[in-house]
Every structure is written in C-alpha cells, then in structure tokens.
C-alpha cells in the first residue's frame, strides 16, 4: 500500500519538478528508508517518467537515477546517519546528478531550483520521518 502511495506521490510531484526537484529528495529518502530493490525500481520508473514528461533524451534520466541510487545503496552503510551527514550526502548526490545531467544532455544549469532543492531537503525529510516513524531523524 505504501509503495502505491510513493508512486502516487511521484505523479503528484512530476509537474513541479522543474521548479524544485522533489523527486530526487523522494528517491534519496527511499534509499535510506525502504527496501533496496524497491528504491531501484522506483528510481528507474521516476527516470522514465521524467524522460517522458520532459522529453530530451529518452533513457538519460533513467540511467542517471539508477546509477546514483545504486551508488547510494552501496555507500550508505559506510557512514553513520544523522541530520547533517544526510544533508551533506544529499547535497553532494544532487549536485553530482545535476552536473552529470548537464554534461549528458547539455541542459542549462538553473541555480534557483538547485538551491531550493538542497534547502528543502532537510525540512522535508525531518517532517517525513516525524510523520512515519515519530522521530525527526533515524540513525
């Protein structure tokens, strides 16, 4: 049921993703809080939807998301989760994703959505954790 909810959320967030990349935040959140295989499928599907919704090069977002999610799944066991570490990891992950996307499709880099996304990450994750797990941050 909760997986369906994530997919519904993906559809809700998709039209607003150009202004603030909430899908990346959602994927990052899933990597740390849900089943690894689901996180991979979800990132694949999210990439596919983004590629179809903002058609530039079919497959590029799928590839970037799948690789980044798999990387995150691999490295997450090497650091201890806390609020600031998560934020820094997200910032690095997101900036790398933007950089790779920029190289892959020569898309112009828009600073404002990047700043908004990084700024919004922490409050959104904290609120989600509080709602779902009754704690601000899972460690």
């Amino acid at each position: 049921m909760k997986y369906l909810l994530y997919f519904a959320l993906l559809y809700v967030l998709l039209p607003f993703n150009l202004y603030i990349d909430l899908i990346s935040i959602l994927i990052f959140y899933l990597v740390f809080n849900e089943d690894e295989r689901f996180a991979l499928i979800f990132s694949f599907f999210a990439g596919l939807l983004i590629d179809l919704f903002h058609p530039v090069v079919l497959g590029v977002n799928i590839l970037i998301y799948v690789i980044f999610v798999q990387t995150l799944l691999y490295v997450k066991k090497y650091f201890k989760q806390n609020m600031w570490v998560n934020w820094i990891v997200f910032a690095v992950y997101y900036l790398a994703k933007v950089f790779v996307t920029h190289i892959a499709i020569s898309a112009p880099v828009r600073i404002q959505p990047i700043i908004f996304t990084i700024m919004c990450f922490l409050p959104l994750v904290l609120i989600s954790n509080k709602i779902k797990y009754k704690v601000w941050m899972r460690t």
Binding site: L14, L52, V57, V60, L63, L73
Partner: protein
C-alpha cells in the same frame, strides 16, 4: 550487496542503456506510445488545472463585462426614462447639466452645474435625477449655477406618502425628516415619499426618499419619520434642471 540485487541493478542499467542507444526515430516512437499510458494521470491533472485556471480567468472577465454592461444599462435606462418623461410631460422640460463643482465645506449641500443665465436658468427651479429629487436652484451665474440639495440643513419641500396619501413637509434637520405626520397616521417603513406639488417650486410626483425609521415621540400630535434620500448625491455626475411653463 547480494548477487541478486546486483543482477537487478545491471538489468535496469541495461534497459536504460538500450533506451539511450536507440535511434531518434525509435525513441520518438517509444515515447509517443508510452506517454499516453504512463503519463495519463499527470496529463489529466494538468489539463484539469489548465481548464480551471482558464475558467477562473474567463469568469473574472465575464463578471467585469457584466458589471460594465449593468452600469451602461442603468445609464441607458435613465436616458430613456428621462426622454419619455420629457416627451409625455408637455408641462415640463428637462435640461441636462454637468456637475462641475461641489461646496468643499459641505460636499453634498451645494452643487455647481455648468448651465446658467444664458440657458435661462432661474432661482428656485427644481433639480432632479432619474432617482429622484436633488434640490433647487439657489444662485444663477452667467454660465454656472449653484444647486441647494436636499442634504442642505434647512431644506424643505411639501411631500406625501405615496401609499397612504399622508401629506407633510420633508425637512432636513441634519437628517431628512418627514414632518407633520400625526401620531395616528398610518405610515410604514419602506413607504416612498414624493413631492406633493403643493408649492410653487416642486412639481408633484418627484421621489424624495423612502421611510427608514419611525420614532416613538413624546409629542402629543406628531411622530418623527426619518427618510432615506432616494438620490446618492455624492455619486452624481449629471443632473436635470426642470423648466416649468413660465421658464419655457
């Protein structure tokens, strides 16, 4: 990381690389086929939002248009009614005049209008709008005229209640009061009060106002009846000066 997980990752990776390596035409075909299915919820919601946004803009435009047409309609009605009055009443003639000034000390007590002696205006001629009585001419200049309105303290006109036929005098004592209504006279809130014609100044049948309050009085004979003027003087731009037989 389990082998299974790794295999899963590589299969997804393979699919995405396959997508990337396809030719432009194939990519376009796949996109065209997949989009309506996978993006159906998003496109539906986006279309709905667009529709709502366009609808709300359109509603605002239409509301503005309706308001403008209402105002225009009201203006046309006034003109038609005045023309009809002019046509039907051979006894009186109306001349339209523009308000060019107001008394700054009491903005609704005196109006300055753009006709004067040249147009044959005389002191005490009644002035009205289609909504009712405005007042009478107080001073006539060469090319302007001062109108004393019903909102001037001390203004008076003979009047009658159209429903019950009670006669009295409408006076401005700070409020517009229908004087000399006897304690036992039947008069109701909402009744319209018109000029009675029992004076040399105002012809009969011009609406002055409606009864808004009837006070209990200690007076043995009369009860104070308060009127709401039919004309909002501060909203006027034009008035009509009434010419009687002698003015014609």
């Amino acid at each position: 990381m389990s082998r299974r997980q790794l295999a899963f990752f590589f299969s997804l990776l393979l699919i995405s690389i396959t997508f990337l390596s396809l030719g432009e035409h194939t990519k376009l075909t796949i996109s065209t086929r997949l989009s309506p299915i996978l993006l159906f919820p998003v496109t539906t919601i986006t279309k709905l939002l667009d529709f709502l946004s366009v609808s709300s803009t359109r509603i605002t435009e239409l509301e503005t248009m309706v308001n403008r047409l209402r105002l225009e309609n009201a203006e046309w009605k006034k003109i038609i009614l005045l023309d009809t009055t002019d046509y039907q009443t051979t006894e009186y003639r109306l001349q339209k005049a523009q308000i060019i000034g107001r008394d700054p000390s009491n903005i609704n007590s005196y109006l300055y209008i753009n006709i004067g002696e040249k147009e044959g205006v005389r002191i005490d001629q009644p002035v009205l709008s289609i909504d009712g009585l405005i007042g009478k001419i107080r001073y006539v200049g060469n090319n302007y005229t001062i109108v004393e309105t019903i909102e001037k303290h001390g203004f008076a006109a003979s009047a009658l209640d159209a429903k019950t036929g009670i006669h009295g005098i409408v006076k401005n004592h700070g409020n517009l009061v229908f004087d000399f209504v006897r304690i036992d006279d039947e008069i109701n809130i909402g009744d319209s009060v018109y000029t009675s014609g029992m004076s040399d100044i105002f012809p009969e049948g011009i609406l002055i106002g409606t009864v808004k309050k009837i006070d209990e009085s200690d007076d043995q004979f009369f009860k104070p009846v308060y009127l709401k003027p039919s004309v909002r003087i501060n909203r006027l731009n034009y008035v009509y000066v009434v010419y009687g037989k002698e003015n014609n």
